[in-house]
Amino acid sequence: MPTGVLDQLGRGLLLTVEMTALAFAGALVLGVLLAVCRISPVPPLRLAGAAYVTAFRNIPLLVLLVLFVFGLPEVGLLYPLFATVALTMALYWAAFVCEVVRSGVRTVPRGQIEAARALGLTFTQCLRHVVIPQSLRSMVQPLGNVFIGLTLGTSLAAAVGVPELTGQAQLVTLKYDNPLTSFALTTVVYVAITLTSGVIAGRIERKVAIKR
């Protein structure tokens, strides 16, 4: 296979990694904020959080991508394609991160939260000193799953014209008419990324384990 192919796939991989990193970071930040809304004692915030999650979790990512990529320019919001796609993915996966965080928080016995409140800790202090340290561990593996889903999901960006790994594989296929080789190669790369992230999640999980 010509070296140009590897070059092209390499550039695709770089875009995939960038998009994954950006979208995951965005999803984490937004997802945690959403989860805080959903468990806060303020009813409008809870409602807003729930509405967000319902909306974004129930629309296929591909549909969202098409809506954002072709819809935003319609209403006068012009962003670079890559940024639009990364943002869409962050918004989509934030809903899943929110639910992971929320169910992690539920693993902390309610009585401990009441004890913290009864001692005079504020909502944020209670989160920071009682809830988060004890729920972090149960969130690691599900967040690892979100990461894998997000990584593989970036391949949908090819459908709206981002030349990331899958996109490049398609281009290479068109050019050299050798679909098996290029897609086999990309498969290996995706699997390498997801397997590695699984291993890393396991490490992190052991790191944040609670000594008892």
Binding site: Q112, L119, G120, H129, R212
Partner: protein, 255 residues
């Protein structure tokens, strides 16, 4: 007016509940509850399961909201939200049936968390105080242990020390010994009896009639969300004023 023994009774109670009502959905859980707890007083709240004793305690530090009426601590109505509420809660300790120690923190860190974070006490000072309190509840050697390594009785004594570390004006106990094996009940009641003797203001929900007789200044009897009678323990146990209380005592004392 001259001050004298007579005027002490006129001092407003530290904790006052006035016509407090609370519903859970359709069920009316607290009905026009009036209750005073004076500074230094120990009030034991008795009543059958489901009569609303826990709900009353939880309303006092506003883990639950009330529908009507007023709860006043030292002249100040309990605030609804925010920092004011947190400040009030810091003055009202609560000891739960299920201990509720923070599972990820050592015994020492359980006790110092609130003094450091809520009261802003320097850590060394908070730790010194925590060790003192641990000694007082007989657990000086457990400072570095994690809650899961302790027996129920030990956990509950730590929970009491954790509450004391905030120097509360009033401590609510909601069946503090009900989750304990029989052989551990004594050690917890002993700590509570000492606290009572030292003049701590306490509102105690319990089924330990011995403790009520020994430590209570007054007993309040609750039935279906109402406080039916309030009396000194000897009066209540020997000559209960209502049939409901008589039935309750007969049932409790039979086993």
């Amino acid at each position: 007016m001259a001050s004298g023994p007579g005027s002490a009774a006129r001092v407003d109670a530290l904790l006052q509940l006035r016509r407090v009502n609370k519903h859970y959905g359709q069920s009316h859980v607290l009905r026009d509850v009036d209750l005073d707890v004076h500074a230094g007083e120990v009030v034991v709240l008795l009543g059958a399961s489901g009569s609303g004793k826990s709900t009353l305690c939880r309303c006092v530090n506003r883990l639950e909201t009330i529908d009507s009426g007023e709860i006043v601590l030292d002249g100040t109505p309990i605030p609804a939200e925010g920092r004011e509420l947190a400040r009030l809660r810091a003055q009202v300790g609560m000891v739960f049936q299920s201990f509720n120690l923070f599972g990820h923190r050592t015994v020492l860190d359980n006790i110092t968390l609130a003094p450091v974070r809520v009261r802003g006490l320097p850590r060394e000072q908070a730790e010194a105080r925590a060790l003192e309190l641990l000694d007082r509840v007989g657990l000086a050697d457990k400072a570095a242990a994690h809650p899961a390594q302790l027996s129920g009785g030990q956990q509950q004594r730590v929970a009491i020390a954790r509450t004391l570390a905030m120097d509360p004006r009033l401590i609510l106990f909601d069946e503090p010994t009900s989750a304990l094996d029989p052989e551990m009940i004594g050690e917890v009641l002993e700590v509570m009896t000492e606290l009572a003797a030292e003049g701590m203001t306490m509102l105690v929900v319990t089924h330990e009639m011995g403790f009520a007789r020994r430590a209570a200044d007054r007993v309040a009897f609750m039935d279906q969300g109402r406080i039916l009678e309030t009396a000194p323990p000897d009066v209540f146990f020997d000559r209960p004023g209502t049939d409901r209380a008589r039935d309750f005592l007969a049932r409790i004392l039979r086993h």
